[in-house]
């Protein structure tokens, strides 16, 4: 993932143990369900600023459960 590439955040539900730190770092795109497990809003994100924060959110997960997936092409652009 290059610094200004569009991406979205995916949560690997099998890895997530509900530490919850990702939602503290990036609360506007990551929420916790009623048991504390993370969910991503799945939106396409772009720009260096949000990219840095997303990488920080991913880095602070002890289980490495966050994936930053590059988005190529526009989904639902029509």
């Amino acid at each position: 993932l290059t610094s200004d590439e569009a991406f979205r955040i995916e949560v690997d539900a099998a890895r997530c143990d509900g530490w919850g730190m990702c939602a503290v770092v990036l609360g506007e795109h990551l929420s916790l369900d009623e048991w504390g497990f993370a969910r991503s809003d799945g939106r396409t994100l772009e720009g260096g600023r949000i990219g840095r924060r997303a990488r920080r959110a991913a880095a602070c997960c002890p289980n490495q459960a966050l994936l930053l997936v590059p988005v190529t092409g526009r989904v639902g652009a029509e």
Binding site: D12, A13, A14, D33
Partner: protein, 234 residues
């Protein structure tokens, strides 16, 4: 297209008689015949049937089971339909989908008149929950709560509307959250059970059960469809 016995049987018919002939049977959305399996409280079960032309679920089941109260269609994670409603259900994947039901794998599990539908729904949910891989946290945590909710309805220890609300909330939390769709399927079946057997659930709440007698053996377990551990645990 799924490479199962039905597909192979259909392919042979198409090769022998041609596509036009095949399309002349069955419905617009689902051409050809349908293969279904009758299970549960049916003499001689399992029975595999080929259904040609529009046939109601009621007529299919009643041919083999003179007296029955409901059927679970589409496998264990399918939809419950009571015997009255079955008069308005055509056994065809397309038209069943349009009614919010599923024919799925073609399994029609028939529930005899002497069994408690809520008890059986609870046992099925238990079994399915026991089959989960337990990989995703919300499923590991949430699905046992769904099983507990259905059990409490069967015990009559919770109001139906409360239980339905609890299942709807669980569905909201669990649907699409994990790596597989087991939670979605279990919750859909549980909700279909509570909806179909709403009168029974209210009777249980008042301390009564509509099931006429106590059945001789556990439903479906007799055919080895539910695990042995479950039979022993009963």
């Amino acid at each position: 297209v799924v490479a199962n016995a039905e597909t192979v049987a259909h392919a042979a018919l198409v090769v022998r008689h041609g596509a036009a002939w095949f399309r002349s049977i069955g419905s617009e959305s689902t051409p050809g015949s349908a293969l279904v399996t009758l299970q549960g409280d049916v003499d001689g079960a399992p029975i595999v049937l080929e259904i040609v032309g529009p046939t109601t679920l009621a007529s299919v089941v009643s041919t083999f089971a003179p007296s029955w109260q409901a059927a679970l269609t589409g496998g264990f994670a399918g939809s419950w339909i009571d015997a009255d409603a079955a008069h308005h259900v055509i056994v065809d994947p397309g038209s069943m989908r349009a009614q919010g039901l599923t024919l799925g794998c073609g399994l029609i599990a028939v529930l005899g008149p002497d069994r408690c539908p809520l008890g059986e729904t609870a046992r099925l949910v238990d079994w399915l929950v026991g089959q989960r891989a337990g990989q995703c946290g919300s499923c590991r945590t949430g699905l046992p709560l769904a099983a507990e909710t259905v059990h409490r309805v069967a015990e009559g220890s919770v109001r139906l509307s409360r239980a339905q609300g609890a299942l709807a909330r669980l569905e909201h939390s669990l649907a699409g959250s994990g790596l597989c769709s087991l939670p979605d399927a279990v919750l859909a079946m549980a909700q279909s059970g509570l909806l179909t057997f709403a009168d029974e659930a209210r009777a249980h709440r008042r301390g009564r059960c509509c099931a006429a007698g106590s059945p001789r053996d556990p439903w479906l377990a007799t055919h080895g469809l539910l695990g042995r551990h479950e039979e022993e645990g009963d």
